[in-house]
Symmetry: C2
Subunit: 370 residues, 2 copies
């Protein structure tokens, strides 16, 4: 006897990145390598114990006010969520009837399709171009498929490619459904690009931006993210579909403190960008303007063990005395094929990272189409 | 232009109990009046800041191990959730196809029907008896209605009535769907009753018990609850339908510490039971065995302002110099009708609480039937 719904029984769940107990260089979950700043430390150490006995503010008022100030928006444009995962799920619950297709760009964050499967919705996938760009006719293809909600990652993971704000404006204007832009990595965009999307909230009734404190603010363990959108778009999630007390009292207090400490956040991001430049230069040697915009955010890597079709785990290698965890990414795995020579990668003499670029060319074709 | 799904547009969301900024005697959200114990204080103050930069354990392994030890079960019988709300929602997502009915006993926690509406499921409600007891033919009525999932609150809120373990065994055996017993208040059952349900987990494949640290452990602000069930019942929620990192790192650490500190938890509950005895004796003067088992857990009260059909807020009264917040409970409101004489209650000379019993007889009929 099983009680699970039939369509769930048939599916595999999303496999989160591993958190090994032993020390490891973690490249598998794109965590920030630096701890959060002093404002977070102070907010945590001064959190009053007796606030725990009461329910938290269900609407996370103080935190949302901080977010609103940061983006020059109103609190009604903001929803606080238990990590970005919750906002993604809430968007499906709120804007997508089961059976209707979820719009995606592929390859993309594999969680999106898992959420669609749980929800009982098919996918309407538009493959990214060979340079990881968003095709010009994306909105038309989603519209033709009757897509009420589409999710895109920008900057894109795992390629790090950034779709410009101008491109997003065009897409939002032409698309008839809700466009959720997952901006988990937006804090790491080079400031000189001047990428700015929060002004879209006032201009488009159908744009929902996802921001998280997991990456740029080094707070992955806290589970705190937020959505930005037109007040009418945010309202049903805020007052109807989210769990009543979705963000705990500590996260609300610590998160507000983190947002107010602009200087620490900027420093964290600046450190990470600096390391990324070094890392990228080894992975992707400068090769003219074609690859100049390809920013390595972290690193996703096909799991060699998937050759057997059995394992669903991250990929571990030894680098000198350190253990390195890499993320399996089954989508990219499918695109790039089996590693021709696993042993060469695993035993690469100078650096396993140097071995990656050679094994990981951009795919010329794609298996996912509308 | 609206993007909200049509059935959501038509609904009202659940209204959480108010958390006034000004000091108030809060009887509206059944929070514990005592702060959590020293183990919680220590776990919070010693939480390592650098754990926040990494994602938490997606399966909350250490916390689930503590739960398993407490109940003499295996970790595979346990799921940790972001408050009880999440487990309730997950049960619908995992075991109930939209369109199929959710089984309820009425009156009950109003959130259940809100979750069913969001999910797109009708209700199959069995009214409680005049003594708040669960009717003998409940399972048969749910089975006849084709109910795949039913939720009951035990001890019942707001009446405080406890359905015996023997009664639950009968219900679980006869019911063909998943029986979710919301035991949010079970820590407050008098120990001399010897009420014990966790042994049902091994005996029934269809029983899911909800426990929370919000009430008995004074941790409502932390958002931490757990489900207990057969491993096969728990598995799809754990590996498929829950958000990947649903419980944050602080809640996992603090929660485990709270569970290990058995003595503090027992003291908190003992204090609360003592106050309840005093409170109950004023509300429900001893009247033989018929009312002896009626335990007032907190107090739910129809919102007089609902007479206008407009307000959806808690009810505030002044008691001497203190402000008292009471919970509006629209279900009970509907059952008991408008207050005949609002002013008498509001200006009750001795105690507003003494005025309650007279205004709040058990309803002889019920508006909610299968």
């Amino acid at each position: 006897m099983t009680y699970e719904r039939a369509h769930l029984k048939a599916m595999h769940g999303y496999t989160p990145g591993q958190q090994p107990d032993t020390p490891a260089i973690k490249l598998n979950t794109n965590e920030n390598p630096y701890p959060p700043g002093p404002a977070v430390a102070h907010a945590l150490s001064s959190f009053p114990l007796n606030m725990l006995q009461r329910y938290p503010d269900p609407l996370a008022g103080a935190f949302r006010a901080s977010v609103a100030r940061l983006h020059r928006l109103a609190p009604a444009n903001v929803i606080a969520t238990n990590g970005g995962d919750e906002l993604l799920r809430l968007a499906l619950t709120t804007f997508l009837d089961p059976g209707k297709p979820l719009g995606l760009l592929t390859p993309s964050y594999s969680l999106y399709s898992v959420l669609a499967t749980i929800h009982g919705s098919p996918l309407a996938s538009v493959p990214l171009g060979n340079d990881w760009s968003v095709p010009d006719n994306t909105a038309e293809r989603w519209n033709a498929a009757g897509v009420p909600l589409a999710i895109m990652t920008n900057p894109h993971a795992p390629s790090g490619t950034l779709a410009s704000a101008a491109g997003l404006h065009k897409l939002a204007l032409a698309f008839r459904g809700v466009l959720l832009v997952d901006e988990a990595y937006v804090d790491f965009v080079d400031p000189e690009i001047g990428h700015e999307t929060s002004t879209m909230v006032a201009a488009y009734p159908n744009v929902l931006l996802l921001r998280t404190l997991s990456k740029g603010y080094s707070l992955a363990g806290l589970r705190l993210a937020y959505g930005l959108g037109a007040a009418e778009l945010v309202a049903p999630m805020l007052s109807k579909t989210k769990d009543s007390y979705n963000v705990d009292a500590i996260a609300q207090a610590v998160g507000a403190a983190a947002l107010e400490d602009v200087r620490s956040a900027a420093r964290l991001v600046s450190y990470a960008r600096h390391r990324r430049r070094i890392f990228s230069s080894r992975l992707f040697p400068p090769a003219g303007d074609g690859t100049a915009r390809r920013k390595s955010i972290g690193l996703s890597w096909p799991d060699a063990s998937l050759c057997d079709g059995s394992m669903r785990r991250d990929y571990g290698i030894n680098y000198g005395s350190a253990s390195v965890r890499l993320r399996k990414t089954s989508t990219l795995w499918k695109l790039s094929g089996c590693l021709a020579d696993r042993s060469r990668f695993q035993n690469h003499r100078n650096s396993p990272l140097e071995g990656l670029a050679a094994h990981f060319p951009h795919p010329s074709g794609s298996s996912a189409t509308l």
